[in-house]
Amino acid sequence: MRARILSILAYTGAALTLLVAVCVPFVLMGAFTNVVAHAGLHIDAVYSGGAVARTVQRDGYRIVVYQPVQSRLLERIEPFVQIVFEPADSLPAHVSEEIDLDGDGRPDVRVSFNLPADPNAPLRGDVTALNKTYVSLANVGGESFSRMVVRTGNKIVVRVPLNKELGR
């Protein structure tokens, strides 16, 4: 009797597995995708740049300043602040901007770069630290996650390292 019940349960399970298989492309893939999408997860700040601190509007473009990103546990990342210039196609051919990163009303860094006409051409730029909290960068491109001046789509992403002693 037990064997018969087990057998019935097994075939019911097998039938359900087949039903699941049929449902995968039409229902389940979408359902599980929604679960992951709405799980309140976010991409690590090392890749995404973290949360936006404030936006500065300029003539025809804006500068988005992000909150500082610090390393966690044994993370091998230099603390940094991300700055985004967007839209890139509205930027002048030469950009040189003094930017207040910590919101105290005084500029912290000067970012300067020449924007190539070809969006796929390599971009390099300079960052001059105006106080000891930040680290200057000369002729930087996409060297590391903490030190970069790169073009991503219609944005220019600049990452300025924080001085390790003072940045925390």
């Binding site: 597995t17 699941v20 995968v24 929604n34 992951v36 997860l41 991409i43 995404s48 996409g142």
Partner: protein
């Protein structure tokens, strides 16, 4: 070769043509259903790709029904997938960005396509910090349709059906080494593998534990960054300093060693069996999957041919004596096909062993082949369309 021995093990016509066609009909209809959207899209290349894949998948399933063999026909699909996936993937990368390497700008813009292999590395940071340590995007974007949510959704849904059989029907990497293993004329290093089989089987688990803990501690996908052999044939971080150069060296060394040379020498899927942490992770799902391979002890003569043939060392003398496979069995069917005594059988958990093994095989194969057609078939169709697009004179 396993396929030759298995061909001897059974009569050439296991089922009549008519009955085989009848049993293949659901898969033929499923294939048509899966590829109907391709025919609605513009482009003759896509139509040709879809049509060829429908014929390919349906023919292979028909041959499984007709001959009663699973491994040989599944292997044709799997090797084709393994070799054509990098082709289509690399072609798309080169067309889009002109290189296989991922520039840092693509990583910070969330444009890295998500690969299921990284899933175990994400678990702890996602659970405890709600953070995904991968440079992709959670939701699909115009520049990155292979978003994290979609890929995890596909993987989990398919895993419910396949369990560890993902590694034989779903993975688009395993076919590469299965292909190199198939090229080999004879089995080398067999005694060594048999002697140290128990230890070798533990390596993927050790790597899994290391990768999960190290990823959580370093907040980076350690497997992707340092250990994935398949980076060598898909995409990899652009070499921009000594660290990335070392990473690239590791990827190439692991690929050549574990995916090309060792499978060719041993006729085993050495990367899958002795290295892949995702495979170990996937083994856990064998516990909840209803299908398995069992051994009829009344018929078994302990010849260990199945153990010798198993591509991933998922059998030991003890396990055969117990009538079971080990947890890392990926249900490829090699042991069943090679067994001359018919002792190795497909089995549905909860039913009597070897009473209706063909029914268990059919129930398993319908689900597995449906998933293979859905995912692997789509990849094959895409790669074939790319090849057709590149044909001379076009």
């Amino acid at each position: 070769m396993a396929s030759r021995s298995s061909a001897l093990a059974r009569p050439p016509a296991f089922r009549s043509v008519g009955r085989s066609i009848l049993l293949t009909l659901p898969i033929a209809l499923w294939s048509l259903l899966m590829f109907t959207p391709s025919f609605r899209q513009a482009g003759r290349d896509r139509h040709i790709g879809a049509l060829l894949v429908i014929l390919f998948m349906t023919t292979l399933f028909f041959l499984m029904m007709r001959t009663g063999e699973t491994y040989r026909w599944r292997r044709i699909f799997f090797v084709a997938l393994g070799f054509l996936f990098p082709f289509g993937f690399i072609a798309a990368l080169v067309a889009e960005r002109g290189t296989m390497s991922i520039p840092i700008s693509r990583m910070v813009s969330g444009d890295t396509p998500f690969c299921f292999m990284v899933t175990p590395s994400l678990l702890l940071p996602a659970a405890f910090a709600r953070t995904i340590i991968f440079p992709g995007s959670i939701l699909p974007t115009a520049s990155n349709p292979h978003s994290i949510a979609i890929m995890i959704g596909i993987w989990f849904a398919m895993t419910l059906v396949l369990g560890k059989a993902w590694c034989s029907y779903g993975c688009f990497f395993g076919g590469i080494e299965e292909g190199f293993a198939a090229f080999a004329k004879r089995r080398r290093l067999h005694r060594l593998i048999t002697r140290f089989g128990a230890q070798l089987r533990l390596i993927p688990w050790a790597i899994l534990v290391f990768v999960v803990l190290a990823s959580a501690a370093l907040f980076e996908p350690v497997y992707c960054m340092w250990l994935c052999p398949f980076k060598a044939v898909t995409e990899f971080p652009a070499v921009r300093n000594v660290t990335t150069a070392i990473q690239m060296g590791i990827f190439v060394a692991l690929f050549v060693g574990l995916v090309v040379v060792l499978p060719f020498l041993t006729k085993k899927r050495t990367q899958c069996g002795f290295f892949c942490p995702f495979g170990a992770f996937q083994s856990i799902f064998n516990k909840i999957n209803l299908f398995e391979i069992r051994f009829n002890r009344e018929k078994c003569v302990d010849c260990t041919l199945c153990q010798t043939t198993c591509p991933t060392v998922a059998l030991s003398k003890e396990s055969i004596r117990d009538g079971k496979t080990l947890l890392n069995c990926m249900k490829c069917g090699a042991c069943v096909d090679v067994c001359k005594k018919g002792a190795a059988v497909w089995h549905l958990k909860g039913t009597a062993v070897a009473v209706k093994p063909e029914r268990a095989r059919l129930l398993f194969l319908y689900g597995a082949w449906a998933m293979a057609t859905m995912m692997g078939g789509s990849i094959l169709a895409n790669s074939v369309a790319t090849m057709v697009h590149w044909l001379p004179g076009k």
